[in-house]
């Protein structure tokens, strides 16, 4: 839109908003290193809450499960979602409409509705709640996001591109791998990224479908939060660190790759 | 008439790039002025400065004699029809047109009267309640004009307003715009890159290029007396020939002296001679002031666009020796190989690579049964930097071999000092099969003979446009054939009503006042 001189009140307002977003995060990280239990006074630097966290096997298990589920759900839902999206784009208009509508349900529905639906499904089928149900649920709500981020890319493909590939001698599978997939990679990556963070951060659905001691970090925080416990700050800081690292890697890798390409170019 | 707008020495820079280099221009009341030029010439920038959307870096804009620097767009008595109309999508046709009046808080009944009058003016009486997004391009265009005119501006600015319309609609809107301008009687400043649009509608055309005004004048002035090469090229199609002014009313080009009507040039001054395609007539050779050969004829609907070449370009002829040699066969490995002798310039030897040798010898190996290509893994040769014939042996991993000769000779080139061109090519050896199997023979011959043309200073490559030979490729036999490569010569574009045959020799004629002499640029 327009570029005009920014006014000072606007600057102050923007500054306050940014502070509003980041102060709680900063607070969590800072107080995770606090020596005392105090919520308001930083009495000295200490790693004791981290020590407690690493010695708490429930907490460490939850970190493991969170990462394991997020990685597995991302891989499975990205592959399945890509295949499904390509398939859906080949179906006729009516079927496509129906499938896309169904696909939107988990995205549009309040999470708690999806959660109780799955809970009842797993119980009705007498599947014992635990790692499997958790993974199934995560794959279930991740695939729609993958499909949603790939479909626009497929739609913007030149409709003749597949015919061109076949005309030049590709088998359908070759055409898929050599021509279609390379053009939708950005959508696939975006989908994978959304899937990972959705799974990594999920609380509501996981909370309802898991059992038998399989907990993720969110559930851990929720159940421990009834009392003030600085160990949670340590766990929170760990998550913040992981997500920040993921974000940094995702944003810096392309820059490094670009630079390397430039160097090789010379 | 009254000077309504004056641009005085206007300069505008974007990111240290100068897009307007000191524009001086006066615009009068009730004029239809067109700013004409290629994209990036600065015409839209000039319009946006006048509209108040940009501030110039230097110079001033006077409106009715007053400097309007710093006055925001909403206080200027100027309205704009935007490139893609910029109709407000959340308002219907009526509310779009009424927008400016409502802002000025005019009484409701007055607004209604004015809007209805505008809707009638643009022929959209029935469309007031329509959503603008439901209208066709032409209709949106009319709404945009009505929305601007309803404010009764002194000047209407139009930024390529017909660019998004198809040809037929564009013609219709050109007429309509002119009619509207005459009816409301205000100044229209119209920006376009379409010369035909400019010629049909304008009272005054301002030709711009690279931030400078090239020429200001009426459509007829500009068409008949272009001020320079750019103006001549931009308005209509032109033949522009290098010439020398011998004296007043006498110009020399193509080694002949012709009468003309221009004067005031220095003696022997280099000039550009412009002849419009419709001003040249094709006549029998004897009656022609110039003669040439018809190179191409394109039917353009009303006329034929005939290209006549009066002088060929620089040419070089090489010999092609055609043999009936067959590929070498290696039965045990089921491989075949072919290659041919080739010529190479002494001066090229230091930079010779194996890939180049394989390409020049056209060396290929393949599976005899499947015709699948096999790589050539080894190239053996000895070479000295002096003239002579040197054997080269190509071999594959399976041991198939073929030996040919590389003939080192002096550079074969032709220089044409007059046109500052140099053309190179070498003799070639080919087999009957090579010629018969070629799917693009002219291009292959250029590659085989390594034919290239350059300007004499060696800086710019020149296209080789013609490849001439007098054999029929389908029934070629062994022997030696001359092949001539040449660059483009002097060509004249001529509009004729008669169809001429390609290859005919014809005469060209024109009258002294068909020649427009212009000073060389720069």
């Amino acid at each position: 839109m327009m570029k005009k001189k920014r006014h000072i009140p606007a600057k102050i307002f923007a500054g306050l908003m940014i502070a509003f977003f980041y102060l709680p995060i900063l607070y969590t990280v800072v107080f995770s290193f606090n020596e005392s239990r105090s919520l308001s006074v930083f009495s000295g630097f200490s790693l004791k809450w981290y020590e407690k966290m690493f010695n708490n096997s429930d907490m460490m298990d939850s970190v493991f499960y969170t990462i394991a589920i997020a990685v597995l759900a991302t891989v499975i839902s990205t592959v399945a979602g890509t295949v499904a999206a390509i398939g859906i784009s080949g179906t006729n208009k009516v079927l496509k409409g129906i499938v896309e509508q169904i696909n939107n349900l988990p995205i549009m529905n309040p999470e708690i509705v999806t959660a109780i639906g799955l809970l009842m499904l797993f119980s009705s089928l007498a599947v014992s709640k635990g790692f499997t149900t958790l993974l199934l649920a995560h794959v279930m709500f991740c695939i729609p996001y993958v499909i949603l981020s790939i479909m626009p890319k497929l739609r913007s493909l030149d409709p003749n591109i597949l015919d061109a590939a076949l005309d030049l001698g590709c088998t359908p599978v070759q055409a898929l791998i050599k021509v279609i997939v390379p053009q939708i990679t950005s959508g696939i990556f975006a989908g994978a990224l959304i899937a990972f963070t959705m799974s990594f951060d999920d609380f509501v659905i996981s909370y309802f479908v898991t059992g038998n001691g399989v907990n993720n970090i969110s559930i851990m925080i929720y159940t421990m939060a009834k009392r003030i416990n600085p160990t949670i700050n340590a766990l929170s800081s760990l998550i913040i660190a992981i997500i920040t690292a993921v974000l940094l890697i995702l944003n810096i890798t392309p820059i490094i790759l670009e630079k390397r390409k430039e160097k090789n170019g010379k | 008439m009254n000077k309504l707008i004056q641009f005085k020495n206007l300069v505008k820079e974007f990111d240290s790039q100068i897009v307007l280099k000191g524009i001086n221009l006066d615009i009068y009341e009730n004029e239809f002025v067109t700013l004409l030029g290629p994209s990036g010439c600065g015409k839209t920038t000039l319009l946006r400065i006048l509209g108040g959307f940009l501030e110039p870096n230097e110079g001033e804009v006077l409106f009715n004699g007053e400097n309007i620097a710093g006055i925001p767009p909403y206080k200027r008595e100027i309205n704009t029809v935007f490139q893609k109309y910029a109709l407000f999508p959340h308002l219907n046709v009526y509310d779009n047109i009424a927008f400016g009046l409502k802002i000025k808080k005019e009484p409701k009944d007055i607004i209604e009267q004015k809007v209805m009058r505008m809707l009638r003016l643009v022929g959209l009486e029935e469309y007031g309640k329509r959503r603008v997004t439901e209208m066709s391009g032409g209709q949106q265009q009319r709404v945009a004009i009505a929305r601007a005119l309803v404010n009764e501006p002194k000047v209407l600015l139009l930024d390529e307003p017909l660019g998004a319309l198809d040809l037929k609609l564009r013609k219709e809107m050109q007429r309509e715009l002119k009619k509207i301008q005459q009816e409301v009687g205000i100044t229209f400043i119209y920006v376009t890159h379409d010369q035909e649009e400019a010629l049909t509608m304008s009272d005054k055309i301002v030709i711009m290029n690279q931030g400078e005004i090239q020429q200001i004048g009426s459509p007829t002035d500009i068409y008949n007396e272009p001020a320079n090469r750019f103006a001549a090229n931009f308005i209509g199609e032109s033949n522009i020939i290098d010439g020398i002014m011998i004296e007043d009313r006498r110009v020399m080009f193509e080694d002949n002296i012709f009468d003309c009507v221009d004067k005031g040039f220095a003696k022997d001054e280099s000039v550009d001679v412009v002849i419009r395609p419709e001003d040249i007539d094709i006549v029998p050779v004897k009656e022609g002031k110039l003669t040439g050969i018809v190179k191409s004829v394109l039917f353009k609907g009303v006329h034929y666009e005939t290209i006549v070449e009066t002088k060929t370009g620089t040419a070089i002829t090489v010999q092609m020796t055609v043999s009936d040699a067959k590929p070498v066969q290696n039965l045990s490995a089921d491989e075949s190989m072919s290659a041919n002798d080739f010529y190479i310039d002494i001066s090229d030897i230091p930079e010779l690579t194996i890939a180049e040798i394989i390409a020049r010898a056209d060396a290929q190996a393949w599976k005899t049964s499947t015709e699948e290509l096999v790589s050539i893994t080894k190239v053996d040769y000895e070479l000295k930097e002096e003239k002579g014939s040197y054997p080269v042996t190509f071999s594959t991993a399976a041991g198939t071999m073929d030996t040919i000769h590389m003939i080192v000779a002096d550079e074969n080139k032709v220089e044409a000092p007059k046109t500052n061109e140099v053309i190179y090519a070498v003799n070639i050896y080919k087999t009957i099969d090579d010629i018969k199997e070629s799917i693009a023979l002219d291009t292959d011959l250029k590659t085989w003979a390594n034919a290239q043309a350059w300007t004499s200073d060696g800086d710019t490559s020149i296209a080789i446009t013609d490849v001439d030979y007098d054999f029929v490729p389908e029934n070629i036999e062994t022997g030696t054939y001359p092949i001539t490569f040449s660059t483009r010569g002097y060509e004249y574009k001529i509009d004729t009503t008669q169809e001429h045959k390609v290859g005919d020799r014809v005469g060209l004629t024109f009258t002294p006042d068909d020649l427009h002499i212009m000073a060389k640029e720069g």
């Binding site: 308001s40 080949g90 970090i217 969110s218 998550i239 | -």
Partner: protein
């Protein structure tokens, strides 16, 4: 792409089993007697009758709607100006600002909500600061304020990003055209920018209202046991009292409320030009 349509079939089966079937189960449970058994189904409205006859549940519903509406309003009031400020920055700064707004949404909501629990506590940092100014200590936790604050904090980025998108996509020539036709900056904003950005506000509302009305961990963490919302009731039915039929019925009621509110919101967005101008 027709050659690949068979690739869609496995997903169609999967989504029927894991997306459609659970939704059907909710409906079935909501309308049948005696929770957990699928055999001898009996149709009933009892679950719905129970919800509407009990004043406690009705209060919960009202409270949930109040919190969600307040959250949405606050998000618009804070989000619109911020989005507008971002949209007016240089393109480079816009990218940076969008990134700054996005990052918090990548961090686990539980983590971010828990942070407020520490800050809002009686002995927390906000009360200490208020204490320095001679106020308080004020009870912040376990209030409606805390719940709304927590929701605004979590959902505000969605509102900002939606409004920013509609503002930044807006064709600059509309603003120039308005200016050309005599509108000053304020008029241009009110007559052009604001109406054209309404779709962004609407999708922002969708993204804020929906999670706000169904959230159950924000009221639990920041509202304590005192601030029960509809989500908490559903949670209790499934994880504590085990009354799936009643829980399903409440979710259906919530879903209907959401659909109705979305419908009303969309109505507000109806294009004024559809009805024609004032000729």
């Amino acid at each position: 792409m027709k050659n690949f349509k068979t690739l869609a079939y496995p997903y169609i089966v999967w989504s029927a089993a894991l997306i459609v079937l659970p939704m059907l189960l909710i409906v079935v449970y909501a309308f049948t007697k005696e929770g957990n058994s699928v055999i001898n189904i009996q149709f009933t409205f009892d679950n719905f009758a129970r919800f509407f006859s009990d004043k406690v549940f009705f209060d919960v519903l009202k409270r949930s709607l109040y919190i969600a509406v307040m959250t949405t309003v606050v998000c618009i009031l804070l989000g619109y100006p911020f989005a507008y400020i971002i949209a007016q920055m240089k393109p480079r700064s816009q990218v940076v600002m969008v990134f700054i707004v996005t990052i918090p949404t990548w961090i686990n909501m539980l983590v971010r909500t828990y942070a407020w629990r520490g800050m809002l506590d009686k002995s927390g940092i906000i009360n200490s600061l208020l204490g320095l100014m001679g106020i308080g200590p004020v009870r912040l936790l376990e209030t409606g304020f805390a719940v709304i604050l927590g929701m605004v904090y979590n959902f505000l980025p969605f509102m900002i990003l939606q409004i920013y998108n509609s503002l930044s996509k807006m064709d600059y020539s509309y603003i120039e055209a308005a200016s050309d036709l005599g509108a000053d900056r304020v008029q241009t904003f009110l007559k052009i920018v604001l109406p054209l950005s309404i779709p962004g506000v609407i999708s922002g509302i969708t993204l804020v209202f929906l999670p706000a009305v169904s959230s159950f961990f924000i009221p639990k963490l920041l509202g304590g046991g005192k601030y029960v919302l509809i989500g908490n009731v559903i949670e209790n039915q499934f994880l504590t009292s085990g009354d799936w039929g009643f829980g399903s019925a409440i979710s259906l009621i919530m879903a209907v409320i959401i659909i109705i509110s979305m419908h009303i919101t969309k109505k507000l967005d109806r294009d004024p030009s559809k009805e024609g101008g004032n000729i």
